[in-house]
Assembly symmetry: C2
Amino acid sequence: MNQHSPTPAVSLDDIRAAADRIAAHSIRTPLLESPRVNGWLGFRLLVKCENLQHTGSFKLRGATNAVMSLPDSVTDVVAYSSGNHAQAVARAASRRGMRAVIVMPEDAPALKIEGTRAYGAEIVTYDRYTESREEIGGNIAAERNAELIRPFEDVRVIAGQGTIGLEIAAQCAELGVAPQHVISCCGGGGLIAGVSLAVTSRMPATKVWAAEPEGFDDTIRSLESGKIVSVDPASRSICDAVVTPSPGETTFAINRTTLAGGFAVSDELVLQVMATAFKHLKLVIEPGGAVALAAALDGRLPSGTDCAVAVASGGNVDPQMFARALVAGPLF
Amino acid sequence: MNQHSPTPAVSLDDIRAAADRIAAHSIRTPLLESPRVNGWLGFRLLVKCENLQHTGSFKLRGATNAVMSLPDSVTDVVAYSSGNHAQAVARAASRRGMRAVIVMPEDAPALKIEGTRAYGAEIVTYDRYTESREEIGGNIAAERNAELIRPFEDVRVIAGQGTIGLEIAAQCAELGVAPQHVISCCGGGGLIAGVSLAVTSRMPATKVWAAEPEGFDDTIRSLESGKIVSVDPASRSICDAVVTPSPGETTFAINRTTLAGGFAVSDELVLQVMATAFKHLKLVIEPGGAVALAAALDGRLPSGTDCAVAVASGGNVDPQMFARALVAGPLF
């Protein structure tokens, strides 16, 4: 299987097939809203709660679709991840009785390392700022004859994340609403590539927007310049799940055709939005999982918005970081 | 309407009618689970997430059913509540264009007072330990010719809360599971009266259990002694939503026929369970809303349990109290 094709086609049929493949291993997450948030915003904001997905993030979908697509001859998988893809691959592998080795940065949240181990994976740590996870993961895959499941540059992963878009379209139809906008966070771009493919296929009038942490707005700037650009290597953010240095080739080839644009949000706003979700939605959302909600609550969407959807992509946050959010306090 | 009938009949038809009446004003809350919680427990635990209900608690259901049942001639409603019924009545009244006065203890969580005001109600405070909220509420109702919506001694309220039981039965059927046990918290007993009526009607093999804070185990002791008993007036608990001194006559008349028994849980356990829900379920649950989950996670259910449901009844917790839970830490 060639995962390096420069313009891979992920079709709506691929996403539908992924939905069937992962159905028994994941949940259809709820689409929630708060009357008080809606009143404060002046429009209806629906939150797609992937923080409530098994393993605490959307990553379960793509990892499960990839692992469940493998031939029975595969006995070992390898992945590199700051933690959410890690837990997702570990769980998917355990469901198929495969061994998993996960390469994680040594400063990954403790909760994510513990969760990955709890799902039965072997963990190898590295220094996020000086070592190459791609190289470490590639070497382990070669040594062990294992299948490497990349976090976003993999059409099976993109198709799996796209199932969120199918569910958003179906749940909006059940509610009788047609959202003008869907906002999703963006790290390497796998989530938003899948979501935007599904959403723009099912709801052609809906615009899809990327939300990124300030300093990690590589997809936004790549969209503006028409080619892939990278972030300043000195950039730092608390949004550990989405601090990818540059868009993937595969994901950017999709996103440049499907996205309307993007919004960069500050760490301070993210903390306040986590506190707002605590207060009004009763949801635990991790920093990276809150950036789309942050863009929506910060008024970044075009004026005239009546209804929008924000993807809350994960909830794997250490208590110390959550306590920081509670101290930062809600927006209202 | 006589709300003081000693043995009021709340039928399955009343609960079905309530479900129709509140459908446009409430949500069907999700029934969630965590693979890691299930693995740790050794059985499947489904959590009915009423913390995700509008206004942040199940109380919206009963209050809405009561308010929507009123004749158009009623223009004012009154309620007394530690905060969840308060917000629920305030919101239901605002949806019908009625004025609401809510009598709240002066030590109610700030979040609940703010929420009640945000839904447009006038608030009157009292001292929880020296004044009678029933007397204050009754006087205001008489002065203003307003309808008093009691928090649990009201068949319309009990029927509204019972809609949770209907949903549990339907959602379990969709999952293809038949839970042996359902656990719900119990204050005055309105929630568990409604839930137990619906659950035992729809799933006759399922046992329903009450969970109460230690020191406020009045329903458990009343069930054991066969008559209504009260708690020690010196009792204190952080579970503000369920610290009722004794069961209601109406609710106890139901609960003595429907419940299998009950479990009392400590404040310390409740804090640990709130932290466990934060870590593994990504849910914000308030102390009183966590007592049923606490009983389940503490191994109180009979051995041989394969599947159980716990109602997480509310999520309206101040950040200071939630920070205490994070410090207490999760059970695993």
